[in-house]
């Protein structure tokens, strides 16, 4: 033993001397240099065990001094502070080295001693110098940490502490964490940086241990609280600081070690589920929740992980564990529930998951596999849900009161998940529905108008049944309490979504629906909504519906949908337009657009009728179109537009076949679709001219015009015209005429004799019979308006005649028809190909105005018939059936329009019996009469006309010459 050189083997005299030296130096009672003092202190530390406390105390002061010097030096107060500081520093470095070597060589014995010293010293120093400049201004923990780590003495201390922890973590982690926590509580918040630093050095251990310490503390105080009910307050007071420091430490570590914290929390929870000890079981979960209630960060972790971990088996297990406690302490159980609810209301990020979890547990839906939560677990969840809803309601409504929004993180979290919530709501049934409905309402109210509008929009886009749509009404009702204008903004949202097909909604992706079907759903839902709203308005429940009002401003969008390639979409749009009606203040462009679109839709519906078997649907669509047209035609500006559109459309190549017509390029090339014809036939003007120059330009006369058509425009492969059944054709014609009638009619002014336009309807139209009678009844008070008659007449003439050169209203001398032979023939051909126009003329001929304008056409037809009859070698006029028929119709029209008067108007009776030439003569008579009494726009004037004998001479003579078989007709013709 003698040879071992160690300070412990120093002689007693030495020790005595050193002790005296140290005492003198540290108490300042003797002249001892700093160097000597520190060397004696080091000696004592190494040689005299009992002096270690004193030496450490001495060094605590030295550290304090050094830090003070350093800080004031930093402040710029010291210019020549460097000298003593370096002395200090070397002494401190020495002692640090010694302590570190102690810890290294004998960790079990030294680490606790040194760590408790270092911790308390750090605590004292940090709280003492917290007010110093520099530190004072540091705001974040990170800055404080940087601040202190830049200070060498503090850095040494931290190094020592870290070493101690490293030594102790393996053997007695509880002890060191306890010490740390205690210090943290005592010197909080100045001590936080130490905890943060140490924690980041040993994250796993510190986190686990800190949690365990907290839990232990919580357990013991919880047990105390149970034992003495009145002592709960005292226990709570003790409990909170420790919890607070636990939370604080975890908070510091969260930024870098959130994964570790997460793992630690979850393992704590799992351990509690598996553990056998009763107190652990019952307290861990409350402990975790208590922690969560104190820190948002922990709450975030818990909400994501804990909720994921709470599967039915776990829940049942928890239920078994908690049953006894629940019965034992109902008051605590209640506060526990309230805590849960509070936490739920506070959680933001995992809001949807939590709600989903609670709802799924409370009201399981569908066939769940595996274990299902027990009845009581479900009841508890139901209870939680109820409390939660109540709390939320209170929160949302209290916000209303004082207009300062109370922040409810749950609702804020849900606001971003409304789409999922909505789909969940739509797919749910039973108890879930009212819950989700309320939740959504609160969310919408809290999150503001755009979110609310979003919710309503997505319901409109996703609801597929009336029940699902019912949610829309209820939500709207709820939200309208807080936001009166929500319906409008929702509709704005709906239309913006409808109008951008690419973003037809984020839900389009996951529901797998195509944009058009989304659109369709939305439109259908809108339709239903409008039906309900309008019925409400009708029943005087509402003064006016905002939805309808708003939809009225949306005609432009609707117009686009009318033109949609999907018939269902356009049908819906049409229905909507029809129901909503047209406000008076629509712009002209929009009106024009609408007219065009409706007309197109009308013809599309007719097409559809001819193609599909779904007659009822297409008939419905046709009817809707008609109703729209009727509504549109109330506006003066649109009437003529509509008439033009209709008439123009009816002669279009695409639609002709619907009305029993044929399309041939020869007749229409130059008239209605010149561009199309030239494009189709690739006829260039230059080529044409070249041809002309090569051949002799022959005048167009009889032989060249009549049969061959225009040379080089031979009959092309005749478009294998879609053959439409005759029945359908006549129905189409009728529909068309009825539509025109709807456009043209106006209320009868008193004193005017009316003549039903549909009087001459052809029989055998069962399908339209009801409509017909309805219209007939409806029209009983209507007549054709003059302006419309004018427009229609002009339109018809325009369609049928080649040019306006000879479109004089007045009839010239009958021989003048030789001049106009070509154009007359053209008119004839066109009428032949467009039988519907003849029907139109027939139907509207009751208006003398119409007839006045359409007279050129009639004259052309008459001329063609006369030309034919004049040269015909048939025995009877009925031998040429076409001409005979047209003649009969002509006479009918002229009669109706008062262009001819009895007895001339009755000559049609004679036609079946006369020879063609006699027929020619009769028509000639009519022509002469009309020439003498030209057409007039003024009905009153026309009606006063009579027929004098000069015009009846031909009739008389024909009757006389054929008296044998026409005698019986005399009384009828002459009204005898």
């Amino acid at each position: 033993m003698a040879s071992v050189i160690s300070d412990l083997n120093a002689g007693p005299g030495d020790i005595r001397r050193q002790v005296n030296l140290f005492l003198q130096g540290s108490t300042g009672s003797g002249p001892v240099s700093i160097d000597a003092l520190s060397s004696s202190a080091l000696f004592l530390l190494r040689a005299v065990p009992v002096a270690r406390h004193a030496v450490l105390e001495h060094y605590a002061m030295s550290f304090d001094d050094a830090i003070n010097t350093f800080l004031s030096f930093q402040d710029g107060a010291g210019g020549n502070m460097k000298e003593p500081e370096s002395v200090h520093m070397s002494a401190l470095q020495d002692v640090t080295g010694v302590l570190l070597s102690f810890i290294k060589s004998n960790p079990e014995a030294w680490a606790p001693v040194v760590s408790s010293w270092a911790l308390s010293l750090l605590g004292q120093i940090s709280s003492k110098y917290a007010a110093k400049r520099g530190i004072q201004h540091a705001t974040s923990l990170n800055e404080v940490l940087q601040m202190w780590m830049a200070c060498p003495p503090a850095q040494m201390l931290i190094e020592i502490t870290t070493e101690c922890f490293a030594a102790m973590v393996g053997g007695a982690p509880d002890m060191c964490v306890d010490a740390l926590l205690e210090a943290s509580v005592r010197y909080s918040p100045h001590f936080d940086w130490v905890v943060a630093h140490i924690g980041s050095c040993f994250p796993r251990t510190i986190i686990t241990r800190v949690l365990n310490c907290g839990l232990k503390d919580f357990c013991s105080s919880g047990v105390d609280g149970q034992d003495k009910d009145m002592g709960g307050g005292g226990g709570g007071r003790n409990k909170v600081p420790k919890m607070a420091s636990v939370v604080g430490i975890l908070g510091h570590l969260a930024s870098k070690h959130s994964q570790d914290i997460r793992k630690a929390l979850m393992s704590l929870f799992e351990a509690s589920v598996r553990s056998d000890s009763v107190s652990n079981k019952v307290t861990t979960l409350p402990f975790l929740l208590q922690l969560a209630s104190m820190s948002d960060m922990l709450l975030r972790i818990l909400t994501t992980d804990l909720v994921a971990a709470l599967k039915p088996p776990v829940l049942n297990q928890l239920h078994r564990q908690f049953t006894r406690w629940k019965h034992a302490a109902p008051a605590e159980y209640n506060s526990f529930l309230n805590l849960v609810v509070h936490l739920i209301a506070k959680s933001n990020s995992g809001a949807y998951d939590i709600i989903n979890f609670i709802i799924c547990t409370a009201a399981p839906q569908g066939v769940g596999q595996g274990e299902v939560a027990q009845e009581e677990v479900r009841d508890t969840c139901v209870e939680i849900m109820h409390i939660l809803l109540f709390e939320l309601q209170r929160g949302v409504l209290s916000r209303k009161m004082d207009s300062s929004p109370t922040d409810i993180p749950l609702l804020a979290g849900l606001a971003s998940q409304t789409d999922r919530l909505t789909s969940m709501l739509l797919s749910s049934e039973g108890k879930r529905v009212p819950w989700l409905q309320k939740l959504l309402t609160f969310t919408a109210l809290q999150a503001g108008e755009s979110c609310a509008a979003n919710v309503l929009t997505s319901i409109l886009f996703q609801a597929r049944t009336p029940q699902q749509l019912g949610v829309f009404y209820r939500l709207k009702q709820g939200v309208e309490l807080g936001m009166p204008g929500i319906a409008q903004s929702a509709l704005v949202r709906v239309f913006s979504r409808l109008e951008s097909p690419s973003s037809a909604g984020p839900s389009a992706g996951h529901s797998g629906a195509s944009p058009s079907s989304m659109t369709l759903t939305a439109l259908k839902n809108l339709e239903r909504v409008v039906i309900v709203e309008s019925s409400k308005v009708k029943r005087k429940l509402l003064s006016s519906s905002t939805i309808i009002e708003c939809l009225r401003t949306r005609h432009a969008a609707m117009c686009d949908f009318l033109l949609s390639p999907h018939p269902a979409v356009s049908l819906s749009a049409l229905r909507l337009i029809d129901m909503v009606g047209f406000p008076d203040d629509l712009s002209v462009t929009l009106l024009t657009q609408l007219c065009g679109a409706v007309t197109l839709a009308f013809f599309a519906s007719l097409h559809q009728r001819s193609q599909t078997t779904e007659h009822i649907k297409s008939a419905r669509m046709t009817q809707l179109c008609m109703s729209c047209i009727e509504q549109l035609s109330r506006l003066p500006s649109t009437r003529s537009l509509l008439i033009h559109y209709l008439v123009e459309a009816v002669v279009q190549k695409e639609h002709i076949h619907l009305f029993g017509g044929r399309w041939s390029p020869s007749t229409f090339a130059s008239a209605s679709t010149p561009a199309v014809a030239s494009v189709n036939d690739n006829v260039s003007l230059m080529e044409e001219n070249r041809q002309q120059s090569l051949s002799i330009a022959r005048p167009r006369f009889h032989s060249s015009v009549y049969h061959g058509g225009i040379i080089r425009q031979s009959v092309k492969a005749h478009s294998a015209g879609k053959v439409v059944p005759k029945e359908l054709v006549s129905r189409n014609c009728l529909t068309f005429i009825e539509t025109l009638w709807l456009c043209c009619r106006e209320l009868n002014r008193p004193g005017q004799v009316l003549d039903s336009a549909s009087g001459g309807s052809e029989p055998g139209e069962e399908a339209m019979e009801t409509d017909q009678s309805a219209t007939a009844k409806g029209t009983s008070g209507y007549v054709i308006s003059e302006s419309c008659a004018r427009t229609l007449g002009c339109a018809v003439v325009e369609m049928l005649t080649l040019d306006s050169l000879y479109n004089d209203v007045n009839w010239q001398d009958p021989d003048f028809r030789r001049v106009t032979t070509e154009r007359d023939t053209m008119v004839w051909k066109r009428v032949e190909e467009l039988p519907v126009l003849l029907s139109v003329i027939q139907e509207f001929s009751s208006s003398c105005v119409f007839l006045y304008y359409a007279s050129p056409v009639l004259r052309s037809l008459m001329a063609v018939v006369m030309n034919q009859l004049e040269v015909s070698r048939e025995k009877l006029m009925s031998g040429c059936p076409k001409h005979h028929e047209v003649a009969v119709k002509l006479v009918y029209c002229l009669t109706k329009g008062f262009l001819i008067v009895p007895p001339l108007s009755n000559v049609a009776e004679l036609f079946p019996f006369v020879s063609p030439y006699e027929g020619y003569l009769l028509l000639l008579t009519l022509w002469h009469y009309i020439k003498d009494n030209p057409p007039s726009e003024f009905e009153s004037e026309v009606k006063r006309r009579t027929c004098d004998n000069s015009h009846t001479f031909v009739v008389h003579s024909i009757l006389h010459s054929n008296i044998a078989h026409m005698g019986h007709l005399c009384p009828r013709i002459f009204n005898m």
Partner: protein, 451 residues
């Protein structure tokens, strides 16, 4: 007897003890009776007032000087001394040495000041006259049940060890013997000393290794207390290696060390010797070490896996992680100690000290504990260790009985015999020794004293 009416119970006892000292040791009696001090009440009041006006180091220094001189010159039979004087002395001691203020707020010394105080106490005891040392010591530390005072005593002893202040150690040794070395107070003192000198500073220290030469009685009582503190019955009661090294060295070098306390038995009625405890160490040691060795070997592989995962059960595992070299060193020390112990017992026979170092009941107790330690199905190694333990037991019994330094009890002998027959593995030596003991029946030992 004069003080009966006026003194408190504590001081009555204290003075009775002084009287007892006078009676038993002529030299002390002379010292106590020859000096006289007459202190008037007013004078005592003056000193108290003066001390209260002084600050820390000075007031304590003054107080110590005063106490030393007062007790040194004290004559208990003096008529002028009244109750007030005793109270003032006690108060001075409480206020300025122990800093347990009876009036006013407690004054808390800093660690540096405490070191200063300890230093002053050491010098005080060194300088005080021989006769009054223990009286001063008793005045300060005689009262029972004050942990603060015991702590101060511990620190004082620790410093005394460092500076080799024999007077303090001697007083402390007497204090230990008086308190009984197995009492909690003494155990606390021992534990702190062990932690200071064996755990914080495990390197061999000249202070501790030369302890018997500084104060043999203290070393003896310290060993007794240490053997009861660390019973060597399992993993959690192993003595620190350095302590075992010190003890075996001490006993090996100085065979009289173990009977130091026995010598004092002449003065103090109560005494304990370190021999039973050391025997326990020597006997149980091999078996326990062997068990720990196998436990360590078997748990190293499982431990490496489990230590990282389990955190809750690590406390029980950590104690079993004693390295094999450490156990080997312990065993070596125990071998040395056993020899030293046998030599010590043999030596005691030479000096003819009564009544005995060890009793049959101690040995029977050791046999019992051995049975507890011994596992029902021992391995080959363990059997070997067990037979070693039983042989050591037999050796000590034989040596003790042949040197007639033990207190025999027939019933205990029989008990041990039945124990060795039925509960413990067979050991030829032990059964032979036991049977001879039974046959002798204690007759051949003239110095047998039944207690």
């Amino acid at each position: 007897m004069l003080f009966c009416s006026s003194c408190t119970a504590v001081y009555f006892n204290r003075f009775l003890f002084l009287l007892f000292l006078c009676k038993d040791s002529p030299s002390v009696a002379v010292l106590v009776t020859c000096g006289t001090l007459w202190v008037s009440a007013s004078m005592a009041g003056n000193i108290l007032n003066r001390l209260f006006r002084l600050s820390f180091p000075d007031c304590t220094r003054e107080a110590l000087t005063f106490l030393t001189s007062f007790i040194s010159q004290d004559c208990p039979t003096l008529t002028g001394v009244n109750a007030n004087t005793e109270q003032i002395i006690v108060e001075i001691c409480q206020e300025f040495v122990l800093f347990k203020s009876l009036r006013g707020p407690q004054k808390k010394l800093t660690s540096v000041q405490e070191l200063h105080l300890l230093d002053m106490l050491c010098s005080c005891f060194s300088e005080a006259p021989e006769k009054s040392k223990y009286r001063i010591f008793n005045l300060m530390f005689g009262a029972r049940g004050e942990s603060g005072v015991n702590l101060l005593l511990t620190k004082l002893v620790s410093l005394a060890l460092s500076v080799r202040c024999a007077p303090v150690l001697f007083c402390a040794a007497i204090w230990m013997q008086e308190r009984d070395s197995l009492s909690p107070d003494v155990k606390g003192l021992t534990q702190r000393l062990v932690s200071d000198y064996c755990q914080l500073y495990p390197d061999p220290s000249s202070v501790f290794s030369s302890l018997p030469s500084i104060c043999a009685l203290f070393a003896c009582n310290f060993i007794t207390s240490a053997t009861s503190l660390y019973s060597f019955a399992g993993a959690d009661s192993l003595p620190p290696l350095s302590l075992l090294q010190y003890v075996s060295d001490w006993v090996h070098k100085d065979n009289t060390l173990c009977c130091e306390s026995l010598r004092q038995a002449a003065i103090h009625s109560a005494y304990t010797t370190p021999v039973p405890g050391l025997t326990g160490w020597c006997v149980r040691g091999p078996l326990v070490c062997c068990q720990l060795k196998t436990a360590t070997a078997s748990s190293t592989d499982s431990l490496s896996a489990s230590s990282s995962s389990s955190s809750s059960s690590s406390s029980s595992l950590s104690s079993s992680t004693i390295s094999a070299p450490h156990l080997e060193a312990l065993l070596q020390c125990l071998d040395k100690l056993h020899l030293a112990l046998l030599q010590s017992i043999a030596f005691t026979a030479c000096v003819q000290l009564s009544p005995g170092l060890i009793s049959t009941s101690d040995l029977a107790h050791i046999a019992h504990t051995l049975q507890v330690v011994c596992s029902p199905q021992p391995s080959a190694l363990e059997e070997q260790a067990c037979s070693l333990a039983l042989e050591r037991l037999a050796q000590i019994l034989q040596v003790a009985s042949s040197t007639s330094t033990y207190i025999s009890d027939m019933s205990k002998i029989k008990e041990m015999e039945s124990l060795s027959k039925h509960k413990l593995p067979h050991n030829r030596l032990l059964s032979m020794v036991l049977s001879t003991q039974r046959k002798l029946g204690g007759k051949s030992y003239p110095k047998m004293i039944t207690s």
